[in-house]
Assembly symmetry: C2
Homo-oligomer: 456 residues x 2
């Protein structure tokens, strides 16, 4: 598809060119139809049972499931429903659409032991950002740390580097000269992977201000690897989290090829390409789906990186974690606002739920997440499955707060909702990425209960 | 001092007046000189030893102490130095300047077992926001929960209310009608304290959008207490954290008096005033000191709330925690930015330290903190105590990042610093309030090491 665009070596050597060649979207990409069944997960039942996951029939709606769980439990603690079959299906889809690319799950996104175990059992590896994450991955892998862990934090503490080396990890990303000297000192036999910057202007979370070597600096970095006699092995990038455009991947892959060529001119034969994270976990309007990204890069990878010479890996995080988790909270307090003037701005009702921006909703501050709609369950009524018990009645401007004593702990302001009651449930599907991972226990609150399920 | 301003009952009953009478700063306040020695803490040595605190002579500078600790340890983990004598001195100062007001330490600010133990040993109580915090306080108090714990979260989970009741807690704040019905159901014998809103426009963290009953609604709330036969006991407020003006306290105290009068008209004789938190832990330019606030309210409290009839408590958090903690971090990675044009905006050096906005520096996002200056220690040179080893040389625009893979994890941008080296130390004094308390373990990083010291 993009085969007419060959790598421009002249351009690669042009030390001041900040961004590599720009590709245009190619709509004539041939359609790719996977042959495997991506829906049946029955053969993974043992894996689900390891975590005591309950089987839930396909027909059962999420809403009705949550209703039943809340009625049974009588507890009012917030909890997560973790659908393990979704993680398996994501892996099946990955293997079907990008068979050549081994996913190294970015643990930072959600260090769930269940997600990690499924990734491990299905042949994936782990992207670790610290000693602690390496420890967690190593515990699962039992001896394949050399091949299935990449220490993908370009800026590392020396003590963490020594720990990684001691644990048998081999692959590590680097993006600056000081770091190469640290590698020489603390981990001279590491397989060094240079992380390059990409044009991340199409992503929600842009990493290039903090990480990544400029293409114009790569010649120098490669020569430092040569001087220090380091084992330069590959190139990586990260297009940024929440990528708006599959062209970002195409561009970054092409840049990586240019740096492969630079390395070759210094006598290095690189054997690893790491295409990073940024693959969406759900399909969002205005953003490419995983399948669109896969279709845009599948052939390009083979073209630029010969199958028999280069291993390709990726570092997906949200792709695995996002859809697997649904957060279930309770309205435990409520305030009717007595407006002096009914025309007043501001909400008519304030609700307080038992998870907030200091806990799972930290994604509102850190991951640019936004709560656009709120799903509620009226717990006072009998639940009719199928239709669900939709709250009816007029909708009023409502504000939802988290449980802490801080007024910044606000989840959404001025959203239209029917009048809800104490004890009603609010739930948030697709809530597994960058939520629990950076949750604190501020004010003593933290959602820790995980209820595992699987569907088929 | 403010004695000429009597409470205006007419105004209190004016249901639409949102804010109570405004006072003007009175500069002629008579000077108050405490008689006790507020500096010698030797009699608390046993308490310091409980936590294995090392004695550090007064003359030893913080910088030199940190240097020695880092040299001795060889570890590069970030840590806190916790000066327990500062907590004791804050308590001595409190008792001297506000002898009538019992401080209930707001655990949420920093649930340090050491701070809590000192507060407990010196006769303070605890402001708890959740079941978890009540559990921690109860463990220390061993049986005085009725008098020394206030459950000061106006919006409570029913299960937490039942827990509090079971633990013998009696005092609880409430600010809306739904909550009064919850109290009736789950905790009918509680000592109910109505939290009122205050004019918090002078505070950095403004709470009135989330908590507090409007004065105009108090009449109704009190009558609901009467109907439900609740044990209405007192009034509380919270002027907001980081208060810019002691007048905020004066106004709030006056409002509280008005609500006392409202309650009286309903036949309630209130016996508790809770003046909340918001007392500064350090003196900051443009903000009143603790002593200024104390001087502004001491006589007023006696005037409006007869000593023999009303017990007065407060909920200071940062006052105790702020200055006690110093965060010590290491520069573990560095990047020299190759500017194409030396005139380019942006930093010349990027530094990476082992604590960031997902950990202790969450205060940058949540507590409106700002890093205005950075203190560094050159670890490559011999340390000359007295002068300190000031880094010299030209200052360059520098950016300091936290350790995680997120580019939002940035502590300060474009600050002028000498060129620092890998292994150099950056330290942050007065870092105990709203730092560790809401720290997460994102990417596997979390500062957990506490080194206790005391000085005399
Ligand atoms: C180096 C690296 N790899 C992978 C990821 C995962 O990104 P995503 O969850 O968007 O796939 C991140 C996210 O911060 C990252 O920093
Ligand atoms: C109800 C309540 N009391 C006391 C405090 C402590 O405030 P400070 O640390 O500013 O004294 C807070 C802070 O959030 C609070 O919400």
């Amino acid at each position: 598809m993009i085969g007419t665009q060959t790598t421009d070596k002249q351009n690669a050597m042009n030390e001041t060119s900040p961004v590599c060649k720009t590709f245009n979207k190619n709509d004539s990409a041939k359609e790719f139809v996977p042959t495997a069944n991506l829906d049946d997960v029955s053969e993974y039942q043992d894996l689900f049972e390891e975590f005591g996951a309950s089987f839930v029939p396909k027909e059962k709606s999420l809403k009705s499931l949550i209703h039943d769980m809340c009625v049974e439990e009588e507890s009012e603690d917030a909890f997560y429903i973790v659908d393990l079959s979704k993680v398996v299906r994501q892996m099946l889809q990955w293997k079907a659409y990008l068979p050549r690319v081994t996913p190294f799950y970015a643990i930072k996104c959600n260090p769930s032991p269940a997600i990690m175990r499924i990734v491990e059992a299905m042949g994936g590896g782990f992207d670790c950002a610290s000693k602690q994450e390496i420890g967690a991955a190593a515990l699962l892998l039992k001896g394949e740390n050399d091949k299935r862990i990449i220490y993908a934090n370009p800026c590392k503490l020396p003590s963490h580097m020594r720990y990684a080396r001691g644990a048998g990890v081999e692959m590590v990303t680097v993006d600056n000269e000081d770091e190469l000297h640290k590698i020489k000192k603390h981990w001279p036999d590491a397989k060094v992977i240079i992380r390059i910057v990409t044009d991340d202007s199409h992503s929600v979370c842009r990493f290039s201000s903090k990480f990544g070597a400029q293409i114009k600096d790569c010649n120098h970095l490669v020569s430092v690897c040569r001087e220090l006699d380091l084992n330069l092995t590959g190139i990586s990038f990260h297009v940024g989290s929440g990528c708006f455009n599959e062209i970002a991947f195409v561009q970054a892959i092409t840049c990586a090829r240019e740096v492969f060529d630079i390395a070759e001119r210094h006598g290095f034969k690189l054997s690893l390409l790491d295409i990073g994270g940024g693959f969406p976990g759900i399909t969002e309007e205005g953003k490419p789906s995983f399948i669109q990204i896969a279709n845009a890069i599948r052939d390009l990878l083979d073209e630029l990186f010969p199958v028999d010479q280069v291993q390709i890996i990726a570092e997906p995080g949200r792709y695995y974690a996002c859809a697997s988790h649904t957060l279930v909270t309770h309205i435990f307090a409520r305030r009717k606002v007595h407006k002096i003037n009914p025309e007043d701005d501001g909400s008519d009702y304030l609700y307080y739920i038992n998870d907030g921006v200091y806990q799972s909703f930290n994604c509102l501050l850190f991951d640019h997440a936004e709560i656009k709609s709120v799903r509620s369950i009226d717990m006072s009524e009998d639940f009719e499955d199928g239709t669900g018990n939709e709250q009816t009645g007029p909708k009023l401007k409502s504000t939802i707060f988290g449980p802490t004593c801080d007024s910044m702990d606000c989840i959404v302001k001025g959203i239209d909702l029917p009048v809800l009651d104490l004890g009603d449930v609010l739930y948030f599907p697709d809530f597994g990425a960058y939520t629990v991972a950076a949750s604190s226990a501020f004010n003593g609150f933290k959602t820790v209960i995980m209820k595992y399920i699987w569907k088929n």
